[in-house]
C-alpha cells in the first residue's frame, strides 16, 4: 500500500481548545499532532481514549477517533478498544489524579498485562478541573484547598509504579520541551506493549511553577539529563557532568574532576531487560541527581493483545468448529423423534 504523508493539521479537530491560556496542555497537544504526523498512522486508524480531568478533554481536539470516558477508567476502555481491533493505534490520555488515584488499579494492570497502548500521563501534581486539591503525586506537606495544613501522606512516583508493574516502556518529558516530548511519544507509539510517557506539566492557575526547581530555563540543563539509548549519560550547560555508578548507587560527577573521566560515565541502555538501572535513573529527581527525560526503558515482550489473538487462533485451528451449532453437536446430544 502507498505510504501516505500526514501533516500535524490532519490530526487537529475543528473544536476550539478550551484549556486556560498558558496551560502546559496546549504544548502537549501540539506535539501530539506532530508525533502522529511523524508516525504516519492515518487519523481513522488512531483512537484517543481519555478519562476525566483537564487533560482528558484532549480527544475533542483530535481529528481521530476519540472517546472521553469516565473518571479513572480510560485504561480499561482503551484495553477493550485494542483487544477488539488490534489494528488501531490506541492512545490513552490521563492525568495524575485520573490515572494514579481513581484509576490506579487500571493503570497498574494495563501495564502488567502489557496491552499495546500508549499512555500519556500529564503530571501537574494537582487536581485542576475541581479547582485545586492535592493529588497522589503532590509532595508531603503540600498545601492545597483540601490540605490547608499540608498533606500528611507521601506521593507516588509514577515511574516507580510502572516498574513495580513490570512495565516495558517508560519515558519522560517536560511540557515545554517540545522536541523531547515528540521523540518520546513517537518511541512510545513504536513500542509494542504498554508505554507510559510522563510529562511534567504546569498548571498556571492552581499549581504554577510546581516543576520549576528542574524546569526553569536558568538551570534546566544542569538539573535534567536527556537519556538516549547508546549514548553517554552526560548533562549540564557545557555537557560537563556525567552519571557514574558508585557502588550500588548512581552519582553525578563533573567530568575531569575528582579523578572521573568520560570513560567512567555510563552509557544508556534502554533495551536492557533488567529494570534495575532504569529504575535508578527514573527515580533521579533533580536534586542530587538530575531528573531524567527521554526514553528510559524500552524492552520487547509479548503484548496482551497478541497473546489473546494467538491463543484464539491456536484453539480455533485445533478445534475446527465453524459455528455454535457445530460446537454443540460435537458434545453430548440425543434425538427426539
Amino acid at each position: 500500500m502507498e505510504e501516505k504523508v500526514f501533516n500535524p493539521a490532519d490530526f487537529k479537530s475543528d473544536q476550539p481548545v478550551r484549556w486556560c491560556a498558558g496551560c502546559g496542555d496546549h504544548a502537549i497537544l501540539n506535539v501530539l499532532h506532530k508525533a502522529m504526523a511523524e508516525l504516519g498512522v492515518a487519523p481513522h486508524m488512531t483512537a484517543v481514549i481519555s478519562g476525566i480531568g483537564c487533560s482528558s478533554r484532549l480527544p475533542y481536539y483530535m481529528n481521530t477517533y476519540g472517546f472521553h470516558t469516565i473518571h479513572g477508567r480510560a485504561a480499561a476502555v482503551a484495553t477493550g478498544v485494542k483487544l477488539a481491533n488490534p489494528a488501531l493505534t490506541v492512545w490513552q490520555i490521563s492525568g495524575d489524579g485520573d490515572g494514579l488515584a481513581i484509576g490506579g488499579n487500571h493503570f497498574i494492570h494495563a501495564i502488567r498485562r502489557n496491552i499495546d497502548i500508549n499512555i500519556i500521563l500529564f503530571n501537574n501534581k494537582i487536581y485542576g478541573l475541581t479547582k485545586g486539591q492535592y493529588s497522589p503525586t503532590s509532595d508531603r506537606g503540600f498545601v492545597s484547598k483540601s490540605s490547608p495544613y499540608g498533606t500528611t501522606e507521601d506521593p507516588f512516583i509514577p515511574a516507580e509504579l510502572v516498574f513495580g508493574a513490570r512495565g516495558t516502556f517508560f519515558g519522560r518529558s517536560i511540557d515545554v520541551e517540545l522536541k523531547t516530548s515528540q521523540e518520546v511519544m513517537v518511541a512510545a507509539a513504536r513500542h509494542k506493549g504498554a508505554s507510559v510517557v510522563e510529562i511534567l506539566q504546569n498548571c498556571m492557575i492552581f499549581n504554577n511553577g510546581i516543576h520549576n526547581h528542574v524546569t526553569d530555563r536558568e538551570f534546566r540543563a544542569d538539573r535534567t539529563i536527556h537519556l538516549r539509548h547508546g549514548e553517554k549519560m552526560i548533562f549540564g550547560k557545557e555537557n560537563q557532568f556525567g552519571i557514574v555508578q558508585d557502588g550500588f548507587l548512581l552519582k553525578a560527577v563533573e567530568i575531569g574532576k575528582d579523578g572521573y573521566t568520560i570513560d567512567d560515565v555510563l552509557v544508556h541502555d534502554a533495551h536492557c531487560q533488567s529494570n534495575f538501572l532504569h529504575q535508578q535513573l527514573a527515580m533521579m529527581d533533580g536534586n542530587a541527581l538530575p531528573l531524567a527525560v527521554g526514553v528510559i526503558r524500552d524492552v520487547d515482550s509479548i503484548t496482551y493483545n497478541d497473546g489473546v489473538d494467538a491463543q484464539v487462533a491456536e484453539v480455533r485451528a485445533r478445534k475446527g468448529y465453524d459455528s455454535l451449532r457445530d460446537m454443540i453437536l460435537a458434545g453430548e446430544t440425543w434425538e427426539i423423534k
Binding site: S13, Q15, A42, P43, H44, M45, A47, I49, I52, P59, Y60, M62, N63, T64, Y65, G66, F67, H68, T69, I70, R73, A76, V77, A78, T79, G80, V81, K82, L83, A84, N85, A87, L88, N105, H106, H109, V308, Q311, V312, V315, R316, R318, K319, Y321, S323, L324, R325, M327, I328, L329, G331, E332, T333, W334, E335, I336, K337
Partner: protein, 619 residues
C-alpha cells in the same frame, strides 16, 4: 414463543455417598439421613454394601454406597441420584450409572492418582473422559478431601490412620453445606457415635466444619431443580443450564450480527460460569477476558463496543452496582452493550449462592441522571438462550445498554434443550453509518428519526472519525453542549429511543382460563412455578389467567390493554414488590395484589396456589 415448562423443585433430593468400604460411607449417609429427618424431611435410604466385607482397598469390588432420598412425598430411595459423592476412582466408576443426567459429582481428587486409577482398572489417565463425563453429563466438583482433612487435623496429635478415617466426615460437611443442613444436628450424632472416644469426636467435629466451610468458601452450589418441557418438539437435544444458555445465546447473536463477541468480566457467584463458558469459546473466536475488577469488566466491554464488537459484561448484583457509572457512559455515548446480572440474595454480599429478583429496580434506575436502559429477563434456563440473543439484538440495533436479569435459580438450573437451527433466529442489523455518508459531513449523534437510534461508525472507517463521551452533546452537531434546552431534548430523545424498542418486541401473551377475572403476573425466572400454580388453580375451577413478562423496559406495547381486562392483578415475585410497584406507577387504575417471597429460595408451587387462592377469596 416460550416453551411450556414445568418446574420440579424441592420435592426430594437423592444423594448417593460412595467410597471404599473402609471409608465410612454408611456412617456419613446415616448422619445425613438422620439430620434431614430431624428437620422434618421424609427419608428413604438404600445402603449398597459390597459383596465382600473387605475387598482390596480401592478396588472395584470394595466399593460401598449409601443412597438416600430426602424431601416431601418420599416413598423410595430414588432410582437415580442428583448428587453423587465418590471418595475414590473405583467408587466413581461403579456409581456414575446411578447419577441423573446433568447431576453433580463430588470427587476426592486426591484419590485419583495413578495407583488409584490402576486399581479401579481405568485404561487411561483420564477417568472422566473414559466414563463419558462431559459437562452435559455431569457437573464435576473436584475437592482435595484427603489433603484438607489432613490440614484440618494438623497438630492434633491424631495418628495418620485415624486422620484418614475422618475423610468421610469432611465430605459430609460439604454435603451439609450444599443442602443447608445445620451442623448442630450432625455434631449431636457424632457425639453419640464417639461418646467413648472424645479425641475422635473432637477430630470429626473439626473436620465436618472444615468441609462445611470449604463449601461456603468456594460458593459451592448444586441446583436441585429441574425444569422440564412438556411435549418436546422433535429435534436434537442437549442438557443445558441457564448460564451456559446465556453464553451460547450471545454467540448466536454474534453469528447473526457478524460482530465478534467480547466479554469483559470479573468472577462473581453465581455468574462466573458465563465467564468460564465464554473463555472456553475461544474455539469459536470469542474474546473473553478476566479484568482486574467489575468496573474494568464493563469499561473494557464499552471500549470493545466502541471499536465494533458485540460487547458484554457479566456479573451479579454487587457487580452491577459497581458497573453503574460505566453503564451510564454507554447510555450517554449511545453504544451497544449487554450487561448480564445473574441475581442473588442481597443487599451487599447477601446470600451469594441463593436466588432472588431483588435487582429489578437497580437495573431500571440504579444510575445517576436520567439514564434509561432496556431490561429483559429470561423465564427459564433454556429461555436464557433466547433472551441473551434478544438482549444482544436490542443492544446492537438500538445502540443502547441492555440489562439481562437472570438469577441463581435459572442460571444454575438445567433443562433439556432442543438445539435450534440458526435459521430460527433473525439476522441482527445494526444501524451502521451508510458508506455514502463517510465523507466527513456526518455528525456523531445524527439518528434515524423513526427509531431515534444514532448511526454507528466504527473506528477504522475512513471518513467517519468522530468523538463521543460522557459529556452532554449537541443534538445536531455532536459537539459538547451546556445548553439547557438541548440537554432536555437529549434526555427525552434517549428516553424515546428506549420506548420505541417496544415496536420490535413480541406482544404479551395470556395463558389459561378464557373468562378469568384475575390475572396472575410474573417476570423472569419464576415462570415455571407460576405457570404450574396457575394451571393448578384453573384445575381447581378458579377463574385465573397468567401473563409472564420477559421484556421489562420497555414493556410490551399491549401491557396496559391486557392488565385492564381483569378485575384483579396478582404480581408474584421474589422481592418485596418491585415489579408490582413498577406496573402500578405506569397503570395506576389497575388493582394490584402481591405475592412476595424474599428467602433466597424459589417459590414453591403450593405457596403460590394457596396465597393466590386467599387473595381471590377477598372481595
Amino acid at each position: 414463543m416460550l416453551e411450556q415448562t414445568n418446574v420440579k423443585t424441592l420435592d426430594k433430593v437423592v444423594v448417593r455417598f460412595s467410597g471404599d468400604s473402609g471409608d465410612g460411607m454408611q456412617l456419613a449417609g446415616n448422619i445425613f439421613t438422620n439430620i434431614s429427618a430431624g428437620v422434618g424431611n421424609q427419608v428413604s435410604t438404600f445402603p449398597d454394601y459390597p459383596a465382600e466385607i473387605r475387598a482390596p482397598q480401592g478396588s472395584l469390588g470394595g466399593v460401598s454406597g449409601f443412597q438416600v432420598s430426602v424431601g416431601q412425598g418420599v416413598v423410595t430411595p430414588g432410582d437415580q441420584c442428583d448428587v453423587l459423592l465418590a471418595m475414590n476412582a473405583a467408587a466413581l466408576k461403579q456409581n456414575i450409572k446411578f447419577l441423573k443426567q446433568g447431576g453433580v459429582v463430588i470427587v476426592d481428587i486426591d484419590s485419583f492418582k495413578e495407583a488409584d486409577l490402576k486399581k479401579a482398572k481405568f485404561a487411561t489417565d483420564k477417568p472422566f473422559e473414559e466414563l463419558g463425563i462431559t459437562p452435559q453429563r455431569a457437573q464435576v466438583v473436584e475437592v482435595a478431601v484427603t489433603t484438607m482433612t489432613k490440614a484440618a487435623l494438623e497438630g492434633t496429635g491424631l495418628d495418620p490412620k485415624s486422620v484418614l478415617k475422618c475423610r468421610n466426615i469432611f465430605a459430609l460437611g460439604l454435603v451439609c453445606w450444599l443442602f443447608d443442613r445445620d451442623l448442630e444436628g450432625a455434631l449431636r450424632h457424632l457425639m453419640t457415635k464417639f461418646a467413648k472416644k472424645p479425641a475422635v469426636y473432637e477430630a470429626n467435629a473439626k473436620v465436618i466444619r472444615a468441609g462445611y466451610d470449604y463449601g461456603h468458601n468456594i460458593h459451592a452450589s448444586v441446583s436441585t431443580y429441574r425444569v422440564e418441557t412438556d411435549n418436546p418438539r422433535p429435534g436434537t437435544y442437549t442438557d443445558i443450564n441457564g448460564n451456559t444458555a446465556t453464553a451460547w445465546g450471545l454467540i448466536m447473536a454474534s453469528e447473526k450480527s457478524g460482530r465478534p463477541l467480547f466479554l469483559g468480566s470479573y468472577p462473581i457467584t453465581p455468574a462466573t460460569d458465563i465467564l468460564h463458558e465464554l473463555a472456553k469459546r475461544k474455539d469459536l473466536g470469542v474474546k473473553a477476558v478476566q479484568m482486574e475488577d467489575e468496573i474494568a469488566g464493563v469499561c473494557s466491554a464499552i471500549g470493545a463496543s466502541y471499536a465494533g464488537n458485540l460487547a458484554v459484561t457479566s456479573t451479579s448484583g454487587p457487580g452491577l452496582a459497581l458497573k453503574g457509572e460505566g453503564i451510564g457512559l454507554a447510555v450517554m455515548a449511545e453504544l451497544p452493550l449487554v450487561v448480564i446480572d445473574v441475581q442473588r440474595g442481597g443487599p451487599s454480599t447477601g446470600l451469594p449462592t441463593k436466588t432472588e429478583q431483588t435487582d429489578l429496580l437497580q437495573a431500571l434506575f440504579g444510575r445517576n441522571g436520567e439514564s434509561p436502559v432496556a431490561v429483559v429477563a429470561p423465564a427459564s434456563p433454556t429461555d436464557c438462550f433466547t433472551m441473551a440473543f434478544e438482549a444482544a439484538r436490542i443492544a446492537l440495533e438500538h445502540m443502547t445498554p441492555v440489562i439481562l436479569l437472570s438469577d441463581a435459580f435459572i442460571g444454575n438450573g438445567s433443562s433439556a434443550w432442543r438445539v435450534p437451527d440458526p435459521d430460527e433466529f433473525p439476522e441482527i442489523r445494526p444501524n451502521y453509518l451508510p458508506a455514502d455518508r463517510c465523507d466527513g459531513t456526518w455528525q456523531p449523534y445524527e439518528r434515524d428519526e423513526r427509531t431515534k437510534v444514532r448511526y454507528w461508525a466504527i473506528p477504522g472507517t475512513e471518513g467517519a472519525t468522530h468523538r463521543v463521551g460522557g459529556l452532554e452533546k449537541d443534538y445536531n452537531t455532536g459537539a459538547i453542549s451546556n445548553s439547557p434546552e438541548n440537554h432536555e431534548r437529549m434526555v427525552y430523545t434517549r428516553r424515546e429511543k428506549i420506548a420505541r424498542i417496544a415496536d420490535s418486541i413480541p406482544a404479551l401473551e395470556v395463558a389459561c382460563e378464557a373468562d378469568a377475572d384475575t390475572l396472575l403476573v410474573g417476570w423472569g425466572g419464576t415462570y415455571g412455578h407460576i405457570l404450574t400454580a396457575a394451571r393448578q388453580l384453573c384445575d381447581e375451577g378458579k377463574k385465573v389467567a397468567f401473563a409472564h413478562f420477559r421484556y421489562i423496559n420497555p414493556l410490551p406495547a399491549n401491557t396496559g390493554e391486557i392488565l385492564s381486562r381483569y378485575r384483579r392483578v396478582i404480581v408474584a415475585e421474589l422481592n418485596t414488590g418491585q415489579f408490582a410497584d413498577y406496573l402500578q406507577a405506569r397503570f395506576p387504575e389497575v388493582k394490584i395484589s402481591r405475592i412476595n417471597k424474599v428467602q433466597g429460595q424459589p417459590f414453591l408451587v403450593s405457596e403460590i396456589v394457596s396465597r393466590a387462592s386467599h387473595i381471590m377469596e377477598e372481595k
